[in-house]
């Protein structure tokens, strides 16, 4: 635990010494992004489930599927609005908290943000049509209007994550002697070597988050004895979405790791707690890196595995943190622990997906007798969210001290305006109201009585 203690005190002191604004600005950015991303994930995944349910109802005229689609779309309306307002906060914040970043690199990342704007538009327009159009459009046309929502949600995530991949792996511009931008190629910046893996990984994560959260919610309902056809179908759809993408996420995560190894060796070393440069580098499971002694004690080491995972070759050399100057080390314990959490949960979710698939296809027992399975599913939703947040912690904290890798330090990007702590405090209270409101309204929606024909036990 020594490493962690060193980190919290030492790192905080460093932060405070850098600039009075740096700490509150980072806390605010991290918190608001971490909040928005949950709603963004649901905004990508839930339309897929809704469209699926409505399609099933159109195909076989079954009112339960229609009830599902209708009730989910109301929940979606609430979650989407919270996603939209929290996203608006982010658009303002980029300028308000990081004016240097936006002033300097705004032109480079402007293209994906502009394109994202169109994705938002498409999404917002069709959300309006879909939610209020149940009685205005023919059923099939109404279903068609659901498709652009699902597509545009995923596109917006793709565009915004290209911005982040640019921050990790900047290219497509030159700087002159005064640090002014020359020769910007926005498309090259957008399609950098980190883009493919990062965007794919994020989108798959979003589908997993939605799938397992839905499964989690209906597992809770069934455990409480609401074991109707409605709940069982809802749970099945959720588990299928989450479980399928959990299987996909394994290889995609490996791809993301490989890209980090090639483009951001310091981040990889921090993720793995790798201090020395070595061939046949071991994969460490657990352990807490200690920046004092430059070791990672308490880890289970599997020799050669890290070299294999990063470069597909056990003899490959992996650079350690010691190969880089110390002021370029990210807060290693946080990065390593967060990475362990993500990968650990990811592996667990693969097993949950396989188990669920087996039970749904070949399981003989009645639903309410599958208690352990339901309890596992109940945990799976929050765990998936945790994995996703841990993944962002790896990406963002692992890039420190840079905001744009190699070009702009975080401490040089922060605003000089006073009162950032005050803004942070106000922001926290706003988000408290949002969270309480969102949960209480969703509860009201969940408690609304089912229509007669929905077969609710």
């Amino acid at each position: 635990m020594h490493g962690a203690r060193h980190l919290t005190v030492g790192h905080l002191m460093m932060l405070l010494a850098d600039s009075a604004n740096l700490l509150p600005a980072r806390l605010q950015m991290a918190f608001t992004l971490g909040f928005h991303i949950i709603f963004a994930c649901i905004g990508m995944g839930l339309p897929i489930l809704i469209v699926l349910a409505e399609w099933l109802s159109l195909r076989n005229g079954d009112p339960v599927w229609r009830t599902l689609a209708k009730r989910w779309s109301k929940g979606f309306a609430v979650l989407f609005a919270v996603g939209a307002v929290s996203g608006t906060v982010l658009s303002f914040e980029l300028g308000l908290l990081w004016p240097e970043f936006m002033g300097k690199f705004g032109p480079v990342v402007g293209l994906p943000f502009t394109l994202e704007g169109f994705a938002f538009f498409t999404e917002g327009i069709f959300v309006g049509i879909y939610l209020y159009g149940w009685n205005r459009l023919a059923p099939f046309h109404h279903w068609l209007c659901g498709l652009p929502i699902a597509l545009a949600g995923t596109m917006s995530a793709w565009f915004v994550v290209t911005t982040n991949s640019f921050m990790n792996c900047p290219q497509g511009f030159q700087l002159d002697a005064d640090g002014k931008l020359l020769d910007v190629q926005p498309w090259t910046a957008m399609l950098n070597p980190a883009t493919g893996a990062q965007t794919t990984h994020m989108i798959v994560a979003a589908y997993m988050v939605t799938g397992f959260l839905v499964a989690s919610f209906y597992a809770w309902e069934i455990l409480r004895g609401r074991n109707g056809l409605y709940q069982r179908r809802a749970l099945t759809l959720g588990v299928l979405l989450g479980g399928f993408f959990a299987l996909v996420q394994g290889p995609v995560g490996h791809w993301a790791g490989h890209v980090v190894a090639v483009t951001q060796p310091i981040k990889l070393a921090a993720m793995e707690g790798q201090w020395e440069t070595e061939t046949y580098a071991p994969l460490r499971i657990g352990g807490i890196p200690d920046p004092e002694t430059k070791t990672t004690p308490y880890a289970i080491e599997i020799p050669g595995m890290l070299s294999v995972l990063a470069y597909d070759n056990p003899a490959a050399e992996v650079q350690g943190l010691n190969a880089f100057p110390e002021d370029l080390h990210p807060p290693t314990p946080i990065v390593h622990v967060a990475f362990q959490i993500m990968v650990g949960i990811g592996t667990l979710l693969i097993f949950i997906g396989l188990w669920s698939g087996y039970l749904l296809k070949w399981g003989k027992s009645a639903w309410h007798e599958r208690r352990w399975w339901l309890l596992t599913l109940l945990a799976s939703g929050p765990l998936t969210v945790l994995a996703m947040e841990a993944g962002w912690t790896v990406t963002e904290v692992g890039r420190q001290p840079w905001i744009v890798q190699g070009f702009l330090r975080t401490k040089d990007a922060v605003t000089q305006a006073p009162g950032v702590w005050f803004i942070f405090a106000v922001t926290m209270s706003i988000y408290l109201v949002l969270t309480v409101g969102c949960i209480s309204v969703l509860r009201i929606l969940a408690k609304q009585p089912m229509p007669e024909d929905a077969d609710v036990a």
Partner: protein, 339 residues
């Protein structure tokens, strides 16, 4: 045409659309303060019915303006963000609670107290957002924003944005939103066959409209006293637009009197749009007054051209989608069983 001018026109167009549609949504929220006291269910239903399907889309014009501004004119964006950190944050708070308040109210059905709370929040926030946006616009227009020619802000964050011109513009913007909303709602009430409501909203629209006419006249005096640069631009370059705005404003009142609600709505929109374009043309080529111009603060041309391409391609999707949305909910008569 230089790429920065094209992007500048795109920005102006998006700002106008945000004022017209986003502004009307804010206005409807502000009127809710009024209906909250009179608690007339029918009235409220019309109001929520009018904004429900479109507010998400209308809101995104603002996001679009922000994004294009920082991508195309990063120096101006950086300067504006530094200068207006406080009012911009207050705008943000307003926008967050407007959006959240609206959906939370709409979906907390059958729960009186909670619904009342969200309704109040929605109404208050709807007034706050245009108020502070107006304050920012006013400070900018008066040329008092203390942003130097290099795009560095050298004023006092806390108090600089509270000027007489800023306060005036803040109230003017709130009033404009109310007027837009009242005229649109009159039209929609007539459209859904609500005779009584049509008359109520017509009366409100007329009353607000007369007030806005007075305020606009006062505004011109204000501009000539507080914002000499802008007044000069108005007098030399932008006067046709100012005149057009005045004519359309008066026309909208007359059309309301004659109960021609759709043309009245069109006139109101033209009057409001010409305020933005008049202002833009009067201060062209400055983007962050008093000194910073479009050309000084622009991104490299390669970026601007890429953005213009993106906007053109995006418009191909956006145009028809928006047309469908407005056709479905604004041009076809509504029935109350939409939810």
């Amino acid at each position: 045409m230089s790429p920065e001018l094209i992007v500048g026109i795109v920005l102006g167009a998006a700002t106008t659309l945000y004022l017209l549609f986003g502004g009307a949504d804010f206005g409807a929220g502000i009127w809710e303060i009024n209906t909250a006291f009179q608690s007339n269910e029918k009235e409220r239903k019309l109001l929520y019915h009018a904004i429900g399907p479109v507010w998400e889309a209308n809101h995104i014009w603002l996001i679009f303006v922000l994004v294009v501004l920082f991508a195309a004119f990063p120096l101006a964006f950086q300067a504006l963000c530094s200068a207006f950190i406080i009012p911009a944050f207050l705008v943000l708070v307003g926008i967050v609670f407007r959006g959240a308040g609206y959906v939370f109210r709409a979906y907390s059905i059958d729960s009186g107290r909670q619904q009342q709370f969200w309704r109040t929040l929605f109404a208050g926030a709807s007034a706050a957002a245009p108020f502070f946006l107006g304050a920012i616009a006013g400070t900018l227009a008066s040329g008092d924003s203390k942003i130097n020619a290099a795009g560095v802000y050298e004023g006092n964050y806390l108090t600089d944005w509270i000027t007489p011109m800023a306060l005036f513009t803040a109230f003017f913007t709130v009033g404009l939103c109310c007027y837009l909303a009242a005229v649109f709602l009159t039209r929609e009430a007539e459209h859904s066959g609500e005779v009584e409501l049509t008359l109520v909203w017509r009366q409100r629209a007329l009353a607000t409209g007369i007030w806005m006419g007075v305020l606009a006249a006062v505004g011109l005096v204000f501009v000539s006293l507080e914002a000499p640069e802008l007044a000069h631009g108005f007098a030399t370059r932008a006067w046709p637009l100012v005149a057009l705005s005045a004519i359309c404003g008066t026309g909208s009142l007359l059309l309301l009197l004659w109960r021609k609600y759709t043309p009245a709505a069109a006139c109101t929109m033209l009057a409001a749009a010409n305020i933005i374009w008049g202002w833009g043309i009067a201060q062209y080529p400055v983007i962050a007054p008093p000194f910073l111009t479009l050309a000084d603060s622009k991104a490299p041309d390669s970026v601007l051209w890429a953005m213009i391409g993106a906007v053109a391609a995006g418009a191909v999707i956006l145009g028809p989608s928006l047309a469908l949305l407005f056709y479905l909910f604004k041009l076809t008569p509504s029935d109350s069983a939409d939810y």
